[in-house]
Every structure is written in C-alpha cells, then in structure tokens.
C-alpha cells in the first residue's frame, strides 16, 4: 500500500480514536470477527461488531441519524440495501483509500459503497434422489415437468436470495421463464436456513437458489451444489462509512483493511468471491469451483419494489 | 385505655343499609357486647370501628381521637388504631404456623425474640393451644383455628379488642373456660372490648353493658340485668329472653318498689304485672313472662301463695335439654314456654297450672309493641 503522508496522518488519527464500530447486516457470516482480529493486531484499534438483520440495521442507522446518537462507523451490508441507505443520505463517502486500486474492475462500486465479497447462488440437489446424469445443468432445466412438485425455493416474493434470483432470472430469461416455473408448483419457504437440510433429508429433490458457500456447512450430507451453465445469481456485499460517524478515520482505515489480501482470503476460504485482483493462485482447491464460477447477474436495487410486485403477480 | 364512641354511624352497601344510625359509647376499659339476630349489622359495626369498612355517615372516635368522619374525609387506617380483632371467619394465615400467626403482630411491633416467644406462648396457653405451636395453621380443626385467632388478637395487648363471635366453634366447657380467661385478661389489662355474640347467655355473663341491635340500629343499650329484666321493647324481650307474651288490658296502675305495678286483665285471667311506665286504664299491654320464672305444677294445690298470676293449660311438648327441660303449654290461644327441672315428670297432654310472681313479670304498652311490630323486616 502507498504510504502517503496524508494517509499516515489518517492512520495516526485512527489510532488516536482507538476504536471503530461495525454494524453487520450479513448475520450468517461468522468471518467478520476474524478480519477484525487481524485489524486489531495490526493497528491496535479495537473493533466492535454488532450483528443485526438487514432491516433492523437500516432502522437503527436511520434512528441514530435522526436523533444524532450515532454509534455506528462502518456498515457491512448487501449492495442493494446500502444503495437505498445512500439515497436516504445516511452514508458518507469513503474518499480516497490507498488500496482502492486493487479492486477488480468488474465489480460495481460508487463513492459510498466499497465492495468486499460476492456470494454466489446456484442450484442444490439431493444426491440420493437425483442421479448424476439427471442433474439440471441450466437454470432452464428446472422447468422440466419431472421436477414438478419437487422444487423447494426461497420465497421469491420476499427480500433475500429468492428475490435476487427472481430479479436476475427475470432480467435474463424473461417473464416466460417464471410463468413456467410457477406451473412447477415450487414450494416457497421463508425459513431459508432450513432449506438445504430439507433437501438433504429428501423432502425435495431440488432447492433454488442455493447459497453455494453453504456447501461447506453440509459436507457429509447427500447434497450437491450446481452452478448453472448461464452462471450463478449473486449478491454483493459492500462496506460504507456512516455520516457523522464518531470515528471517521478508524472507519476509513478499517475499510481499507478489508481490501487487504489477508482479509479477502478469509472470505475466499468461506467460498465467497473476492473483490480484489491477484488472488487467483491462492484459492484453496475445495472452494475453487465455487469461487471461480461464472456469474449471471444480480438484482437492481432501484427495481426492488417493481420486482416484488411482479413476483407477487406471477406467483399467487 | 381509650373509650370508643360512635355518633350517628351508618353504613350503606349500594341499596342495602347494613347499619342505619348507631350512637353508642363504649367506656374506657369496659366490656360491651353487640347482640342481635343474624344480619343485623354487628360485624359491619365492628369492622367500621376497626377501620376495615368506612362508615358512610357519622363519626367514630377512639379515645380523644376521631378516627373516621366521612364528612371531613378523615379516616385513620386500621393499622394505626391499635386494635386486636378476631374475625368471624378466623382469618388465620394459611402459610404460617400457629406460632407465626400469633407472633405476627408482636414482630410488627419490633419486640425482641424472647419477648415475642414469651408473649406468644402466654397467649397460646390462654387458649390451650401451646401443644400446637409448630403446627401449620391449615391442619387445625375449626375450633382450634378459632382459638389461634383469639390468641393472635390478645397477644400484643391492644388498646381496643374487637371480637366477632370468637367462641362460636368451641364446646361449652372450653367456652366457659375461655370466657373466664378472656374476662380476666380484659380486666387485668383494662382493654376496652367490644364483643359480638349471638349467644345471649354468654353476653349476659361477660358484659358490663349489652347493646341490642336489629336491622342496623340499636334497640336498647343497658346492663345485662336491665336488658334481661326490663326490656324496653317487645323485640328485645323476644330476642334476649325465652318469654311468653300475653296481651292484656290495664285495669289499674300504682307505683311499686322498683317500678310501677299495673293491674291487668286478659282472657280468663287477671293479675298484677310490673311496668316501666304508667299506662292509662283501658289501654292494652303486652305482658312478658320469662320461661324460667314460670312454675308448672300438675297439682294446683301445690302452687305456693306468693305466685301472683295463674293459668291452667295443657302440655304440648316436653323437650329434655340437659340442665333444663322446656315445656310448651297451651293456654287458649297462647303457647307458654316454660323451663322446668330436668327430672321433671310432667308428661305431654297433662293438665298443669302455670304461675308466676309479680317480681318476675314485665309489661310493655301495646302501642310501643305495635310500633315495633310494624317495623319492616330487613
């Protein structure tokens, strides 16, 4: 990293602040504390992490801003949610960071949102119920009538993997794809965390969209993850600095640290796609397929309400 | 020890006038009994004195202090009145032992451990319950619970003692003993005591004064002898004594030794009776003769000469009651109740001569009797 004098001043100021608070809206990821430890070890600045569900996080930030009782310095959340928050005016620009240059060119970013990792969603199948040769290879394979009644899906009418998949596939394959999918009688479930297990237990043959990093959590179970030929649907997670944060310098320092190789590798090991260049050779073999899979696309935050409305129309 | 004064005290429950308009004074250190039929307002009166019920009208004072006066919104809470009370329902605390129940008021007064122990044991001794000190209260029989309630009320030597039928579940033997103990204690400590009972004999035996109530108001407030021998109304006579009431007409009136003497005439009989007041000739009176003062003789000749009035009638009933035998003797319209000795050999259907002497009679002008008869029943 470039050690400009200006940045050194920020490092010093950050150390003087002594602490930084991160609100994380991606509760299912246990890796932020690991990164925080590395950061603490390096700079001696204490990181406090508060895990909150995305909607709770948004509400807390909004309330803190409205009442000027600001506790959060940095937010980690889905890119779409942060986009909305940015529009509410509660985020601050992170300015120039020494390691910005490392970012891959193909990730979406703006002056307030710093991409950290990408999570890919594919298709999960029960390996006992679905023979090797019968596995769907494309998103469109699940429209085959033989899967009728055997598909478990995250509810596409509710925010999260389900709506992201809906928006992306709708944008890429058109309305027809979903009208057909609707006739397959997919069982919608909102208890996302249970779904992979339900497929593993044989309640259903197929589960979409399957968060591929979850394969690591289900190692010995009869479940396989498939990246469709069109590519994975994905969700991108970003960092943002909070407006009027109590520790603005530490916030920027922390954000920059997330772009470091050591931090990024933490997420790579959990089968998430890094947002910086030059890690290709360092991807462990067991997650290589997932991390390097082709990506189909993600949802457009500006269209959230419109997409939900469409989903509700198609899936009564 | 303070006196207790009630001035025009009343208590309404919605539409029900449980206590009407009671004015009475219980002097310092006196033992006064409230006597009256079930539902006449005895418990309510006691509760108002204790501060458990607020009187809706009138003034209650204990000693020099007004404790309740609704017209001035004055009300002293019960715990400030230093009264001991035995509830009609005992109100024994089921989560405590006998000892703890009795110790409760003492501990509230921050007595030392030893003092508490000593006083509790003394009180339990009084009610013959020392052997049960450690027994949980719910495992006692009814009478035992009642005795614990008495011990609790007296253990802390309150300045006013309020007792609501405290002996109703005890047998005669124990009741007699407890009466004596209670009276002795009351006199030793000079506690102003208000006692509610439904037992006339008990009221007579214990009290300095008796207040006879009915339908929420006072009929007579007098010494036991006054109530018994010289009832002011027929109701009092009926309630406090076992008497026969005979209508008669006054023939003449003259002063007697303790009261006036009337010469009266009834159906088939005539004689002299006592009366509180002069009654004009020709007016009606109700003659009252108490069961125990009537003699019943099978042989008219054996009636002694000092008996002033005589009737002849037929025995209708003969009930053995232990120390006495109650005869019902019919004389014309009237059924006389007569107490006889237990071994009496008078049989049902026998003809007997009833007689009574002047000093055992009493009479009340019929006007007063009629007035109290028209009183609406509660």
């Amino acid at each position: 990293a470039a050690q400009t004098p200006e940045w050194n001043r920020i490092v010093e100021a950050a150390k003087a602040e002594g602490k930084v608070t991160l609100y994380s809206g991606h509760v299912g990821v246990p890796y932020h504390p690991e990164v925080a430890k590395m950061f603490e070890a390096k700079y001696g600045i204490h990181v406090e992490i508060l895990d909150l569900r995305a909607s709770d996080l948004a509400e807390r930030i909004r309330t803190e801003q409205a009442t000027k009782r600001i506790a959060a310095d940095v937010i980690l959340n889905g890119a779409g949610t942060l986009w909305l928050m940015k529009n509410q005016g509660v985020l601050a620009a992170y300015g120039d960071l020494p390691d910005l240059g490392r970012l891959r060119a193909d990730v979406e970013k703006d002056d307030a949102r710093l991409p950290i990792y990408i999570q890919g969603y594919g298709i999960a199948v029960n390996t006992r119920l679905v023979k090797d040769g019968e596995r769907p290879r494309s998103w469109k394979d699940i429209l085959d009538p033989k899967w009728k009644g055997k598909i478990l899906a995250d509810d596409v009418r509710s925010l999260g993997g389900g709506s992201t998949m809906f928006a992306t596939t709708y944008a890429n394959f058109g309305r027809e794809f979903h009208e057909k999918l609707a006739t397959q009688d997919p069982q919608f479930s909102r208890t996302v965390r249970e779904n992979a297990r339900r497929v593993a237990r044989g309640e259903f043959a197929i589960y979409i969209p399957f968060s591929l990093p979850d394969l690591l959590l289900n190692k010995n179970l009869p479940i396989a993850g498939i990246t469709p030929v069109e590519g994975d649907v994905y969700a991108q997670f970003d960092l943002s600095a909070v407006k009027d944060a109590p520790h603005p310098n530490a916030a920027r320092l922390l954000m920059n640290f997330f772009l470091s190789e050591e931090a990024q590798l933490v997420y790579v090991r959990s089968a998430r796609v890094p947002t910086i260049k030059g890690l290709e050779s360092k991807i462990p073999a067991d997650v290589k397929d997932i991390v390097t899979a082709k990506l189909l696309g993600t949802s457009d935050p500006a269209r959230i309400d419109a997409d939900l409305k469409l989903a509700n129309e198609i899936y009564k | 020890m303070p006196s207790v004064q009630l001035q025009n005290v009343g208590r309404r429950f919605g539409g029900v006038n449980a206590v009407g308009d009671v004015t009475a004074v219980v002097p310092n250190g006196a033992f006064v009994t409230l006597l009256g039929p079930s539902g006449c307002g005895k418990t309510t009166t006691l509760r108002m004195i204790a501060g458990l019920e607020s009187n809706t009208s009138g003034v209650i004072s204990i000693g020099d202090r007004i404790v309740s006066d609704p017209s001035r919104s004055l009300f002293l809470p019960p715990e400030k009145r230093n009264a001991g009370m035995v509830f009609q329902s005992y109100a024994i605390w089921p989560h405590m032992t006998v000892f703890d129940n009795v110790a409760y008021p003492l501990r509230l007064r921050r007595l030392t451990r030893e003092d508490v122990r000593a006083k509790v044991m003394r009180a339990l001794d009084l009610v013959q319950m020392t052997a049960y000190a450690e027994r949980p209260a719910p495992l006692l029989s009814g009478g035992q619970q009642q005795r614990v309630a008495i011990a609790r009320a007296v253990a802390f030597e309150p300045s006013v003692l309020l007792l609501d039928e405290p002996l109703s579940n005890l047998d005669a033997k124990l009741r007699d003993e407890m009466r004596i103990e209670l009276r002795a204690l009351q006199q030793r400590l000079a506690i102003t005591t208000i006692f509610v009972t439904h037992d006339q004999e008990e009221a007579m035996a214990l009290s300095d004064r008796i207040i006879v109530m009915r339908s929420g108001s006072i009929l007579q407030d007098d010494t036991p002898e006054g109530i018994y021998f010289r009832p002011s109304t027929l109701k009092v006579a009926e309630f406090c004594t076992t008497s026969t009431i005979i209508p008669a007409t006054v023939v003449a009136s003259r002063p007697g030794t303790r009261s006036r003497v009337l010469e009266v005439r009834g159906d088939d009989w005539s004689g002299m009776v006592q009366s509180a007041t002069d009654v004009v000739e020709g007016a009606g009176v109700s003659v009252i003769v108490r069961a125990e003062s009537i003699r019943a003789d099978a042989d008219p000749a054996s009636v002694s000469g000092d008996q002033d009035i005589r009737w002849r009638g037929r025995v209708e009933k003969n009930v053995f009651r232990g120390f006495r035998r109650t005869l019902v003797v019919r004389v014309g319209e009237i059924a006389f109740t007569v107490d006889a000795a237990p071994e009496n050999d008078i049989r049902v259907d026998q003809e007997v001569t009833l007689s009574v002497s002047l000093k055992d009679t009493w009479s009340i002008p019929a006007a007063a009797a009629a007035a109290s008869a028209t009183e609406t029943p509660l």
């Binding site: 608070t21 508060l50 009782r69 965390r193 | 204790a50 715990e79 005992y90 989560h95 495992l139």
Partner: protein, 545 residues
C-alpha cells in the same frame, strides 16, 4: 411507572402510524396506514389470524386445564415429575420444535408419514405440517405448557371444601370439575385464554415456518413483509395494523371484565383449609396414562430430538458415526456465548424481579381497590403483550433514541432492562391478578388491624400467600428474557450482547446444532430452576399438609 414503560414506546408508535415519515424526521399527519387496512386482503388476514388464534387457544386449553387439574387436585401418580415435564416444552425455542415437527410431519419424507405408508401401503401422506393444522399444532406445542404452568397454581389455591360440597350434592368428580372448579377458575382461565389468543396473534415462527409454504398469511408475516420486503419499510401500515390488533384485543379484555364483573372467586378463605387431593380411585391410572401421553407427545419427542441433535453432526441426520460433542465444545468455548449468557441471566434476574413486583402492585390495584382508573391501568398493562414484538421493538428503539442525550438509555443495558420490564408486565399482572382474586379479604384485613401497614401486609401476607404464583411468574418472565428477540436485536449493543441475539447469529450461520446445544443447556437450567421451584412450592404446601 407503568405508563412510562408501556405508553411511551407505544405512543411513539402511534405517532409513527400517523406520520408520513418515521419518528425523528419531519413528516405530516397521514392516515394512509389506517386507510390501507380497509381492504379485503388485510381484513382476511386479520380474520385468518384471529380464527387461528382462537382455535389453538381452545384446543390447547382443554388438555392444559385437564392436566393442570389432575396434577394439582387429584392423586395421579408421580405428580411432581409430571408437573416438571409437562411444563418443559414452554422453554424450548420454538424454532427448534418447528424443525422437529417439520421432520416428523412433512408430507414427503416425514417420519410419521413414512411409518404410516409402510404400515398401510398408502401412497398419500396422513399429516402435513405445512398447513393450517400444522401451524395450530405447533402453536399448541407452546401454549399447552404455558397454560398448564399458570393453571396449576390457580387450581392449587382453592379451598377443597368448595369442590367437596359439590360432591356431596351429588355431582361426580367430572361434573364438579365442570360446574364448580372451572367456574371458580374463570378469572384464571379467561386471563390465560386472552394471553394465549394474543400470543397466537403475535406468533411469528409457526406461521412463518408452516404457514407461509401453504400460502397462509397472518398479521405478523404481513407486518414482516411490510417492513422487510419493501425498498422503504412501510411503518405507517405496519403500526396501523398493530393498532388494529390492539383494538380487537381490547374488546376481548373488555369482554372479560364484563363476564367477571360483580362476581367473587375467592377460593382461599379465612378458615384455613388443608389441600386434600381428590382420590380418583379406578380412574387414577387412566388419568396417569393421559398425562404420560401428553408428556410423550409434547415433551419427550421434542426434547429427545433436541438432545440427540445437539450431539449429532447435523440436525435431523442420525447415525452412530454422526455423534459428536463438538457443538457443546464450540458453544462452551465461545466468549460471546458466556458474555451473552451472563448478560441475559443478569437481565433476567433483575428484570423478572422488578417485573413481578411491578406486576403485583398493578394487579393488586386492579383486583383489590376501587380506584376509578383501575380498568385503564389494567388495559395499559395489557398493551405491550398486544403489540406484535417486531413493532414494539421499534417503539422502544424510537422511544429510547428520541430521549434527550442526558438520559443515556439508548445503547445501554438499561434499554434492554426497560424493554423486558414492559414486555413482562402483562404476564406478571395476569398471573398475580388471578392469584389475588382468589384471596379472601379478611386475610389482609386481619393483618392491617394487627398493625401492619398496607405495604407490609402486601409483602408478608398477600405476596407470601401467593408465593407459588409469584415464583411461577418470575420463572416465566426470567425465561422470556432468554428468548425475546425482536426488542433485543434492536436495542443491544456491543458488550451488551444477549443470548437471543447470539442464538440468532448461530442460527443464521446455519448452526442449528449449536442452537440445539444452547437450548439443551438452557433446558438444563430450566430443569434445575423448576425442580428447585417445585420443591419450594411443595415445601410451602407441605407446611400446610
């Protein structure tokens, strides 16, 4: 105090429901949230929710009442153990029992259906938990023990001679139960029924787990959608919906007042009574079987599943090679677990104690005095329970954040404590008012006359006499703190982590097995607590036997 705890957060919500912008931001008066209530969709959701809640209440109260009566008033064998076991499922996190029942009763691979199909050769499943019935069944899982625990105490403090006089009048045990016992238990039963109905309306996990897949939408999922499934959360609608629920529930409470007015239910009289169990004679073992059946279905099944899962590598996948203690290892070696457990326990002890004290005082005022505003107080005490948790959580967040900066409640443990106090008060008020309405007045009066002030009498007589109920209320509120998520997640801060949030984290990380391990540890605490508690109650009663 009560008003500050409940009216304040709810007031901010009311403001939120009427404002075009959320609190803290300038907005204009806006009735669109309420306007949105009046359409067929919302009304049908309200109808479904209330219907479901009523049904599960009725279905739960029947076994709960019978069980409570058997355990507290008859000589069924092994009463003490049964009492402990029947109450246990109340303390299992609903999400875990949901997983359990999903495995047992799903239409394709559920064990019940597989056994059924293997036995009969049928090809259609007999049960499907992803249905209306499934939601109700899962709600019952929680309601039966809840109602049971509260009813046992109510039944216990009843003068047996009231039942005995019915027996000698010619009524059989069951007629007596119906006509006298139940009638005398009306305050308890109706209070518990209302708690249960409201609880059912607020339930989130069951409809989410079993209802959503079947297309059943209820108020809570609707609120969840309106907050979470929009680009901008629609708070006016969410809060307006909550207030509609409150209005309906207030009708229920008013109905209870009417139904009980002017009657007395004093079953502990001044003439002390020994608690004599009813001898069931030949029915004894039948009754015992009934209890055991309940224990098997509602307790053994889920608890066993929980224990096995906590030792399995994967929840629901059993096999000798899958056995592991690593989940316990993980949990017990986690600083966060210990920190949040200690925080939660502290909050639980302080919160439950304060809640019960506050609740007792409120209950006393409502039941025992003739103060003019006591019904208003009663209703206020109900409010936090009537408000769906996720909305009320917002109320607290807004409420505490809007306070002047000098009052540093926001972000401190105090915020959580106050929220728990408010959330626990309805339960404590219900528990205690039921208990108080059974006490005859003369027991207090006799204490007052003998020199104890009102406060002393309250402590030494009223509370002491209702100690079993008080302690049950304490335990229920204590463990409520262990599972309250909606407010916790909005109000906790770093260093103030509480167990529900930690559990949520584990859950979101896909560690259902660790959650099971935590739940088993929690159940162990429950068993110790309840065991100790029941022994205390027994001793308390033994002091009367």
């Amino acid at each position: 105090m009560l008003a500050a705890l409940t009216l304040y957060p709810i007031g901010t919500l009311l403001y939120g429901s009427l404002s075009s912008a959320p609190p803290g931001q300038a907005g204009t008066l806006d009735f669109s949230g309420y306007g949105a209530l009046f359409n067929a969709h919302t009304l049908s959701i309200l109808a479904v929710t209330i219907g479901m809640s009523l049904l599960k209440t009725v279905l739960s109260l029947i076994p709960a009442t019978i069980l409570a009566w058997l355990i507290s008033r008859t000589d069924v064998p092994a009463r003490a153990t049964l009492e402990l076991l029947i109450g246990l499922p109340f303390f299992i996190p609903p999400i875990l029992t949901a997983m359990g029942w999903a495995m047992l009763g799903n239409p394709t691979a559920g064990s019940i259906n597989q056994v059924w199909q293997a036995l009969t050769g049928a090809t259609t499943p007999i049960v499907n938990v992803y249905s209306y019935g499934g939601v109700i069944w899962h709600l019952m899982q929680f309601t039966v023990p809840f109602a049971f625990i509260l009813l046992v105490e109510a039944f216990r403090s009843m003068d047996p001679s009231l039942e005995e006089s019915s027996r000698t009048s010619g009524a059989s045990v069951f007629t007596t139960f119906r006509k006298i016992t139940l009638a005398l238990m009306l305050p308890a039963l109706s209070s518990i029924a209302i708690l249960s109905v409201i609880g059912g309306i607020e339930a989130f996990e069951s409809p989410l787990f079993f209802g959503s897949p079947a297309g059943i939408h209820v108020v809570t999922t609707e609120i969840y959608d309106s907050i979470n499934n929009r680009a901008t959360p629609n708070y006016p609608y969410a809060t307006a919906l909550s207030f509609a629920v409150i209005a309906l529930m207030a009708l229920l409470v008013a109905w209870q007042w009417r139904a009980l007015r002017g009657r007395s239910f004093q079953t502990i009289s001044g003439k002390a009574f020994a608690p004599r169990p009813i001898e069931l004679q030949s029915l004894r073992w039948l009754a015992f079987s009934f209890c055991v059946l309940n224990v098997l279905i509602f307790t053994v099944l889920p608890v066993l599943q929980l224990v096995v899962s906590s030792f399995s590598q994967y929840y629901g996948f059993y096999g000798w090679d899958m056995l592991t203690t690593s989940h316990y290892h993980d949990v017990l070696h986690s600083d966060l677990f210990w920190r949040s457990t200690i925080n939660t326990a502290t909050l639980g002890v302080v919160g439950a104690t304060l809640t019960m004290i506050l609740g007792s005082i409120v209950a006393y005022i409502v039941v025992r005095t003739t103060l003019p505003f006591r019904h208003v107080i009663d209703l206020i005490a109900w409010l936090p329970w009537m408000m769906p948790g996720m909305v009320l959580g917002l109320g607290f967040l807004w409420g505490f954040a809007v306070l002047p900066h000098a009052i540093g409640i926001y972000g401190s443990l105090w915020a959580l404590l106050l929220a728990y106090l408010s959330l626990g008060t309805p339960l404590s008020v219900r528990t205690m008012s039921t208990a108080f309405s059974q006490l005859s007045h003369d027991l207090e009066e006799s204490s007052r006359v003998h020199g104890a002030s009102w406060a002393l009498t309250f402590r030494k007589i009223v509370v002491a006499l209702t100690m079993p109920s008080f302690s049950v209320g304490w335990i229920l509120t204590f463990f409520m703190v262990f599972r309250e998520l909606s407010a916790s997640v909005l109000l906790y801060s770093v260093g103030n982590e509480v167990l529900p949030v930690t559990v949520l984290r584990l859950w979101e990380e896909g560690k259902a097995e660790d959650v099971s391990a935590v739940a088993v540890l929690m159940l162990a605490i429950v068993v110790v607590f309840r065991g100790f508690h029941l022994i205390m109650v027994k001793r308390w009663i033994a002091s009367r036997t």
